[in-house]
């Protein structure tokens, strides 16, 4: 059904008028021009499209836009505060926790959601939470290190 959906996108009000069954990923990428969120598999299997909705990591390729009405969405474009990177971004930068970078926005947003819920995760909690975000280059070991580092920053109250 064609209708207008309003929500909060990266801290600012947003609204789109579209078929409300369309998936959030394509509304973000095509209608709103936010291409940082990536398409990888289209079936919520790889996590490249992960964004945070009301503090939960979701697979935007499989969430219809109608489910987003009134909610707060954070994408990779909204993670930094202006020029000030989020601690999780700083940690990814420091550890070079990426290679091709294509899965990176999804990794960052999923890690961000973990730290919102669990500011001081154990290594096991990190592995479990990140399990279904796929990286083909094999940057996993650095991604884990980066999340541990950011969690250290979280301990110091930087989040």
């Amino acid at each position: 059904m064609q209708r207008t959906i309003s929500f909060t996108l990266n801290g600012k009000p947003a609204s789109v008028t579209t078929d409300d069954e369309r998936m959030l990923l394509w509304v973000l990428r095509s209608d709103l021009g936010l291409t940082g969120t990536k398409f990888g598999c289209g079936e919520a299997l790889c996590g490249a499209c992960t964004v945070v909705v009301d503090q939960q990591a979701v697979r935007s390729c499989s969430v219809p836009i109608k489910d987003i009405a009134g909610k707060r969405v954070v994408t990779i474009e909204g993670l930094a505060n202006g020029d000030r990177l989020h601690p999780i971004q700083e940690a990814f930068l420091k550890h070079h926790a990426f290679q091709c970078g294509y899965c990176t926005p999804g990794m960052l947003l999923n890690a961000y959601a973990l730290l919102l819920k669990t500011p001081k995760p154990t290594r096991t909690q990190i592995l479990e939470h990140m399990e279904d975000n796929l990286c083909r280059c094999g940057a996993h070991v650095r991604i884990v290190e980066a999340i541990e580092e950011a969690a250290g920053a979280a301990k110091a109250g930087a989040l």
Binding site: G36, F39, Q99, R136, H140, R142
Partner: protein, 701 residues
């Protein structure tokens, strides 16, 4: 691009060109059939009046970090800050010809050219400064793009000031490059050039490009390779608002300004295909390969294997198998094509923009000079993004609709059209003398290819033959779909077979597998990487199998003149067959290291990615239908698989920088197989080593 045009675009500055006879741009023998380049003069670097240096290379950034390492090599010789170098990569109008980004060649082959270009530019600038500062050139000093005369206080000029308002053109001469001891940029690990863009979502991939009026396309695909279209009804799709259905030769596509709407429209296209029944599947493929492979070619031999067999007390005969493996980059094949005024521009996720260019030109009926391929960041390649298919499809559709067309393959298309690592069979027959030495080794490779396959051990009688490979030239029908290079082509299969077999021999001889290797090695580089890995790993000599449920393994290889040794510790669930790798130590000698952290990223990536083809990855298919279509059934490595990874760089300053994107991954199959053998006493002869296969092997004992 012609030189004249180049100046028109770039304005003033200093440009350094190459003449075309450099080794880097001659086709290496291992990639036969590719067109040689370059066809015109092209620049490697430009220094602008603002002092910024633009470096042009035909290589692309796939994640391997060459954008950073190549900039380091140029900055080193030019004596400019690393941060002042801007990289332009994989743009066929702006960069020198390049055959493609594969084979770990960027650092090894382009790096020396960039160093020469940097040294040439530096020499020219010093000459210019000598005139400007009225001082002898040999007295001048350069630091961070500023030339000073130490004999005259305040006498200084920057590179930018020297080139301002001038058009200087130079060709690379034989200018000496710096000795290793003088390096200040090479050997460091600065922040990757792509880092900030990639962690902020600003990095642009082909699918992130947009043009006014652009339509997204989804293409009707057959259900199986070899299937033919019987009938199609597009009427329902055409009724959707904003949808255009295009039939252009063999392409039937639904287009819409939103990709998801194009996909919805494609879903309404009713098509019937004839689906041939070949009887071929992922189980019958191995017999099929043996019966269809071309005549074997000798790729290496020494002594006499028949004579060696007579000297043998124990004969070991093994057949190793591996299934088809997908590249599965997270970014699917993507291209945006725009045609304007008889000129086509295609932004493509490709490893080989310069071979995409003539393919697009041919498909459009354009002269090649009217086609430009631009390569933004590529979301992983691993050998799978070498072909031009998606770029050609986008260009044909753009021509058909008269608008820019963006084509992002879906995941099922990515699996369907992948140029898989070939399924392969390796037969090895060998013998041990009474004294426990290898008397002969006779290897027959089917379908994997014979590159770097001959043994590097001291074996008096050996023969290696290879029938068919990943590079093409196979008889029609040998493979049910396309095959191609997959990170470490040939070598993953051949190293799995050889290094597993060496372990079988060590076990027969009752000798520790590391010691057994060392007993057969005089090559000092190989001994050194093995000994280095063993020290870090704290390898304890012992006979295999230990049968403790916890196993350790070793494997080594030489890949493109890079030496690598890897050791692993793992557990095997005796009732589940599940492998958990606890620890991997990997040592590598690759000559002068340009960027140690970048190298470690590649080594870690190889270890992690390598666990996939080793433990889970195989493409299931039936009668040309690819049954794995997404990551639910095709399992690639995940976080829970992570071992502790320790990477060791073995110092070798006497050797020029080699390529490091691939060597480590080639050892992963065997190091895990050998550790499984140590743990449970089962010799794994087939990749991937799934729990089911491990339990079967344990039962067979």
């Amino acid at each position: 691009m012609k030189r004249r045009d180049f100046f028109a675009v770039t304005g003033s500055g200093l440009l350094v060109f190459f003449g075309g006879d450099l080794e880097a741009f001659q086709e290496p023998a291992r990639f036969p059939g590719r067109q040689a380049g370059p066809t015109d003069f092209n620049a490697f670097l430009r220094i602008g009046a603002d002092g910024r240096v633009t470096c042009f290379v035909g290589k692309v950034e796939l994640g391997q970090g060459s954008m950073t390492a190549l900039a380091q090599m140029l900055a080193e010789e030019l004596d400019v800050p690393f941060d002042s170098v801007d990289m332009v990569m994989g743009d066929t109008d702006r960069c020198p010809y390049d055959m493609g980004t594969f084979g770990s060649m960027s650092i090894r082959m382009v790096g020396p050219v960039l160093r020469a270009a940097g040294a040439e530019a530096r020499a020219v600038l010093i000459q210019m400064a000598a005139e400007r500062l009225k001082a002898p050139a040999e007295r001048l000093q350069v630091k961070a793009g500023v030339i000073t005369d130490p004999a005259a206080e305040g006498s200084r000029v920057t590179y930018g000031q020297l080139v301002e308002g001038k058009r200087i053109e130079r060709h690379i001469e034989k200018v000496p490059v710096k000795p290793v001891a003088a390096f200040t940029v090479i050997g460091k690990s600065p922040r990757r050039k792509d880092a900030l863009e990639k962690i902020t979502g600003k990095a642009k991939y082909a699918g992130d490009m947009a043009l006014p009026g652009m339509l997204h396309a989804r293409i009707l695909r057959p259900p199986a390779h070899g299937a033919t279209l019987k009938s199609v009804d597009t009427s329902a799709a055409e009724k959707l608002p904003g949808v255009r259905v295009v039939r252009e030769g063999d392409l039937i596509a639904a287009l819409h300004e939103r990709r998801d709407m194009a996909e919805q429209a494609l879903g309404l296209v009713k098509a019937q295909f004839d689906h041939p029944q070949t009887g071929l599947d992922d189980k019958t493929i191995f017999d099929h390969l043996l019966s269809t492979a071309p005549k074997p070619q000798v790729v290496g031999q020494g002594g006499n294997v028949e004579g060696g067999e007579k000297l043998s007390k124990t004969i070991v005969d093994e057949t190793y198998l591996n299934s088809y493996v997908a590249h599965a980059p997270i970014e699917t094949h993507t291209a945006l094509a725009s045609i304007e005024g008889g000129k086509a521009t295609v932004w493509a996720s490709t490893q080989a923009p310069f071979s995409v260019k003539p393919a697009v030109a041919q498909a459009l009926g354009f002269p090649p000079d009217n086609v430009r391929i631009v390569t933004p960041f590529v979301g992983g390649g691993f050998g799978g993004k070498v072909g031009p298919q998606q770029a050609v499809e986008a260009a044909r559709l753009a021509k058909a609709v008269g608008k820019p067309v963006q084509l992002v393959w879906g995941r099922a298309e990515e699996f369907f059209f992948d140029t898989f690592r070939p399924a392969a069979v390796v037969k090895i027959r060998s013998g041990l003398t009474a004294a426990g030495r290898i008397a002969f080794l006779d290897t027959s490779i089917y379908a994997a290819g014979g590159g770097d396959a001959k043994p590097f051990y001291d074996i008096p009688n050996h023969r290696t033959v290879s029938a068919g490979g990943w590079m093409g030239g196979n008889p029609p029908g040998m493979h049910p779909f396309e095959v191609g290079a997959w990170r470490g082509p040939s070598a993953n299969t051949n190293t799995f077979a050889r290094e597993s077999h060496i372990d079988s021999l060590a076990a027969k001889a009752g000798v520790d597998p590391l010691q057994f290797r060392l007993n057969h090695l005089t090559d000092p580089r190989m001994r050194r990487v093995l000994e280095t890995a063993a020290k870090q790993f704290a390898w304890k000599a012992g006979k295999t199998p230990s049968g403790r449920g916890v196993g350790v393994g070793v494997a080594c290889n030489i890949y493109s003149n890079v030496y690598v040794a890897t050791m692993a510790e793992l557990t095997v669930g005796k009732t589940t067959g599940k492998v958990q790798v606890r620890r991997v130590v990997t040592a590598l000698d690759a000559g002068v290291i340009v960027n140690p952290d970048g190298l470690r990223q590649q080594m870690e990536g190889c270890v992690t990615m390598g666990l996939g083809y080793t433990l889970t990855e195989e493409v299931r298919f039936q009668d040309g239908e690819v049954l794995d279509r997404n990551f639910d059934s095709y399992r690639i490595p995940r976080f829970s698989w992570l071992p502790r990874i320790e990477t060791i760089i073995v110092d070798n300053p006497g050797l020029t920088s080699q390529g490091c994107g691939e060597p480590t991954i080639t050892t992963m199959g065997a190091v895990i197989a050998n550790a499984i053998y140590d743990a449970v006493g089962a010799r794994m002869l087939q990749l991937p080593m799934t729990p089911g296969r491990i339990l079967d092997a344990i039962k067979k004992g």
